[in-house]
Symmetry: C2
Subunit: 482 residues, 2 copies
C-alpha cells in the first residue's frame, strides 16, 4: 500500500468537507441561528486537519495506485468523512456524545438515514442543513464508487460495468474517476435542482425543499421534520417524492444516456425493466393488503403503499406511515425490499437488482443441469454472456453480506434487543435504509440502542455502503502482507 498517497488523498477530502461547511454556516448566519459560530469553528478545525494530513504525506509522489490503495482510499475516506462530519454536531452541542455524533454523521455519508435524534425540529437550521449535505455528498461518493471505482477493483460483480467507462486501465484509477464523476455529477445536480424546484412550487418552504431534495437523490432519507414526509400530509409532495425516489434508484449512467437523447433506455436495460416491474408489483401487492385492513379507501392504500415501497426498495427511508403497525405481509414485503435494493450504479443500498437477476439465472441454469447433465450453458444478461468470474464475485458478495448480517443480528440480540428489533436494526443499517421495525421503527430512532450496538451498526452501514469487499478486504491478514 502507498500509505502516503492514501493519507494525502484523505487530507484533500477532509479539507474540502471542511470548506463545504461554509454553506450551512451561511444558512445559519442568514437565519440568525445560534449555531453559526460553532459551524465556523468546525470549518476551520476540519480544514486545518485536512491540510495537516496533506502536509505530513506530501513527499513521495506516486502516479500509479494499485488495488490495495483503492480499497484503502475508499474505506478510510468514508471513515474520515464520518469524523469530519461529526465535528459540527459536537461543537454546536446538537449531539454532544461522540458515539451518537459519529453515528449520525456516518449515517449521513453512507446515505443510510438512521438517526439518533429525538427532536429534529429543535435543532438550528445550520446543523439541519449540514445533516442533509452529508447525505448529498455521500450520494456523490457512491456514484463515483459504483460506476468508476468498483468495476476496476472487481468488487461484487461490478466488473460488469467496466464497459460503461471507455478503455479500462485497471491500475490507473485517477483519470477515469474524474471524467466519469464530472459527467454523472452534472446529472445528479440537475435532478436535485429539478426536485427542489418542484417541491418549492408545491408550497414547501425553500429550506425544507432543499433539505429534502438533498436527501432524496442520495436515497438518504434524513428530514428536517420529526414526522418525516408525513408532516405535510400532501399527496402532491408524496407524488413528487415517490417519483424522485424511484429515479434515484436507477443507474445514473442510464439517466445520462436518457439526457443524451436515448429515450427508450429504461425499457432497453434488462436490470431497469426488472427494477420497475418489481416496484410496480410490490406496490400493487401492498395496496391490496392495506386496502380494508389499514386504509378504507383504495386511493389512500395505493398512495401509502407506493410511498413506502419506493422509499424502502430504494433504501431512502422517508416515511409517510408507521409501517411497523401494518399487517405482517406488508412488513415482510418491505423487509424483502430492504434486501433487494434498487439498481447497481444508483445511490441505493441493498444487494441490488442486477445481482438478484444473475443469482436467479444461475440457479435456473443449475436446475437445467440436473435435467441435462452434459449440456454446456452460460448465464446471459441482455443477450450477452456473463463471465464466470463475475458470477463468482457476486456469490462471494452475497455470502459475505449474509454472514455479516447474521453475525451482527446475533450480537445485537446479545446486547438485549428483541428478535424483531435486532434483526431489523441490522437490516436497516447494512442495507442503508434507515428506519426499521420494532424499537427502530419509522416513528422511533436509534438513541436507545446501547453504545456497543451503535458501533456494530456503524460498521454495518459502512460495510453495506462500500459493497462489503472494500471493507472486509482490510480485515484479512493477507491485505497487510508485503
Amino acid at each position: 500500500m502507498h500509505t502516503h498517497s492514501v493519507i494525502r488523498f484523505i487530507g484533500i477530502l477532509v479539507f474540502f468537507l471542511g470548506l463545504s461547511m461554509a454553506f450551512p454556516f451561511i444558512v445559519s448566519w442568514a437565519f440568525g441561528e445560534h449555531d453559526a459560530l460553532p459551524l465556523l469553528y468546525s470549518m476551520i478545525i476540519v480544514m486545518a486537519l485536512g491540510v495537516f494530513l496533506y502536509v505530513i504525506a506530501r513527499n513521495q509522489e506516486v502516479k500509479v495506485l494499485g488495488h490495495r490503495d483503492g480499497v484503502a482510499i475508499v474505506t478510510f475516506g468514508w471513515i474520515a468523512a464520518g469524523f469530519a462530519g461529526a465535528v459540527p454536531y459536537i461543537l454546536s452541542g446538537a449531539i454532544p456524545d461522540l458515539t451518537d455524533a459519529y453515528f449520525e454523521s456516518l449515517s449521513g455519508f453512507t446515505t443510510t438515514g438512521a438517526s439518533i435524534l429525538e427532536n429534529i425540529e429543535g435543532l438550528p437550521r445550520g446543523i439541519l442543513m449540514w445533516r442533509s449535505i452529508t447525505q448529498w455528498f455521500g450520494g456523490m461518493g457512491i456514484i463515483v464508487l459504483s460506476i468508476a471505482i468498483l468495476p476496476f477493483l472487481g468488487v461484487g460483480g461490478m466488473q460488469l460495468y467496466k464497459a460503461e467507462v471507455p478503455s479500462p486501465v485497471v491500475d490507473k484509477l485517477k483519470p477515469r474517476i474524474s471524467d466519469t464523476a464530472k459527467t454523472l455529477w452534472k446529472v445528479y445536480i440537475l435532478i436535485t435542482a429539478l426536485e427542489i424546484l418542484l417541491l418549492f412550487l408545491g408550497g414547501m418552504p425553500l429550506f425544507e425543499a432543499v433539505s429534502h431534495a438533498f436527501c432524496t437523490m442520495p436515497t438518504g432519507g434524513f428530514s428536517p421534520k420529526n414526522a418525516s414526509i408525513a408532516h405535510y400530509n400532501s399527496s402532491y409532495f408524496d407524488g413528487i417524492l415517490i417519483a424522485f425516489m424511484i429515479i434515484a434508484g436507477i443507474n445514473f449512467s442510464l439517466h445520462y444516456k436518457l439526457l443524451r437523447g436515448d429515450l427508450a433506455i429504461f425499457g432497453k436495460d434488462p436490470e431497469c425493466r426488472v427494477y420497475l416491474t418489481v416496484v410496480f408489483l410490490f406496490i400493487l401487492l401492498l395496496t391490496f393488503n392495506l386496502h380494508g385492513t389499514v386504509y378504507a379507501s383504495l386511493a389512500k392504500a395505493f398512495r401509502y403503499a407506493a410511498f413506502q415501497v419506493s422509499s424502502i426498495i430504494t433504501t431512502t427511508g422517508f416515511a409517510t406511515a408507521d409501517f411497523d403497525q401494518w399487517p405482517a405481509l406488508s412488513k415482510k414485503i418491505l423487509v424483502l425490499c430492504m434486501f433487494l435494493g434498487a439498481m447497481a450504479g444508483s445511490t441505493g443500498g441493498g444487494i441490488k437488482i442486477v445481482r438478484i437477476i444473475l443469482l436467479a439465472k444461475h440457479a435456473y441454469q443449475e436446475i437445467f443441469r440436473i435435467i441435462h447433465p452434459h449440456a454446456i450453458t452460460t448465464v446471459k444478461l441482455g443477450g450477452k454472456g456473463v463471465p464466470q468470474e463475475v458470477l463468482s464475485s457476486i456469490w462471494g458478495f452475497f455470502i459475505l453480506y449474509l454472514a455479516i448480517f447474521v453475525t451482527s443480528a446475533i450480537i445485537m440480540a446479545s446486547l438485549g434487543l428483541d428478535m424483531v428489533s435486532s434483526f431489523a436494526s441490522v437490516a436497516a443499517c447494512i442495507f442503508n435504509v434507515g428506519p426499521g421495525l420494532g424499537m427502530v421503527g419509522p416513528t422511533k430512532n436509534y438513541l436507545l440502542i446501547p453504545s456497543l450496538g451503535k458501533w456494530i451498526l456503524i460498521f454495518c452501514m459502512l460495510v453495506g455502503r462500500l459493497e462489503i469487499y472494500t471493507v472486509v478486504a482490510l480485515l484479512i491478514p493477507e491485505y497487510w502482507r508485503k
Copy 2:
C-alpha cells in the same frame, strides 16, 4: 422419462410400506388397543394399491434409468409414501381430516417432526408406533438418497461424495443403490438398537424406548409424549438423547468407517471437525446466555442448552424446554442452527455444514482476489481441490433454498400469521426441524395453521428434505419436454 419404470418402482415402495404396517398392527393387537382393525384394513388397502401400480406398469422392462427418472422416482416416491402413511391416521379416526393426516404423514417420512396433534397421549399405541415408523423409514430413505442417489444426479454439490461409492456409473443407479443401502442400513439399525437398549436400561418403558429411538436416528423428533422428552425430566435420558442426536447428525459413511476400525475418522474428516466444533461452541454460548437468565444453576443451563442445540442443529426437534421463552440471543442461535443443519450424508436437514464450509471458503477466496486480482486460486476441502461445477451447484442450491424460503414465508404472512410465526413455521418445515417459534413453538403444534398454509408447509418439508433440486426440477417446463 420412463413413466412405466417410475410407476412400477412406486408400486413396490407402496406395497412394502403397506406390508410394514404389520408391525404397528402387532403392537396394537398385543396392547389390546382399538386401532388393530383399522391398521389391518390400512395394510390391505395400501398393499393392494402397491400391487395395482406395479401391475399397470409391468410392461416395458427398462434397464437403464436416466437422470429424469431418478428425479421422478425420488420426488413421487416421497409424495406417494405420504399418502400411504396417511391411510392409518384416517381409517383409525386418529386424524380424520385429509390435509392434517397428510401433513402428519409427510412430516414423518421427511423426518421433519412437525405435528398437528393436540393430545398425542390420547392416541392408541398402534398409531403412535406407525407415526414413529414413518420417521424411521424416512431416515433410511434419506441415507440412500444422500449417499447413493444425489451424488449421481449431481444435486447441490453432492457430486463431492461420488468417490465414497466405488466406480461411479452415472446412468446405472440400481446396483450401486442396493449395495450402499444395505451397508449403511446395517449401521443405522445397529445404532437404533443400541439406543433402544440404553433407554430401556435407564428405565424407559420398551414401547417408548423404541418410539424415541425410531425418531432419533432419522433426526425426526416425533414423541409419544405430549411434553416430548421434557416428560421424563431425567438427565440420564437427556444425556443419551443428546449423544444419539449428535451421532445421527454425522455422515453415516463415517460411522461405517468407524465400525470398520478407523477410530480417528471423526477427527480426520474436515466437515465432521467443523460440525462438532460448532455444536460445542453453540452449547457454550447458550449455556452462558441461559445461566442466570433462565436457569440459576450452571449445570442445568448446560443440560438444557446442550439438548436444544443438539436437537435443533441436527433438525431432530425433540424438546426438553420451551425455548420460545428464552432470551433473543439463544433463540437466534437456534434459528441459525436450523439453517446450518448437520453433516451431509446424515439424516439431518438444513443447508448442511459442508456447504457452509465451501461457501465460506469461496467467499474468502473472492476477498483474496480483490487484493491479488491476477492470482489463480482454488477452493480446497481436506487438501483436495473442489471442482467449480460442485461450487456452482451449491450456489444454485443455496439461492433456491433462500428463494423458496422467502416466498413461502411471505405467503404464510399473507394467510394472517405474524412476523415470527410465518418465518419460523417455514424454517421449521423447510429445514425439517419440526418445532419453531411463536404459534408453532415447542409447546404448540401446527393444527391452527390454515389449510392452504399446511399445504405450503408440506411443500416446504418435501423440497427441503429432497435437497431442493429434486423437486424444483419437476416444476420447470424443460423437465417435461421430450
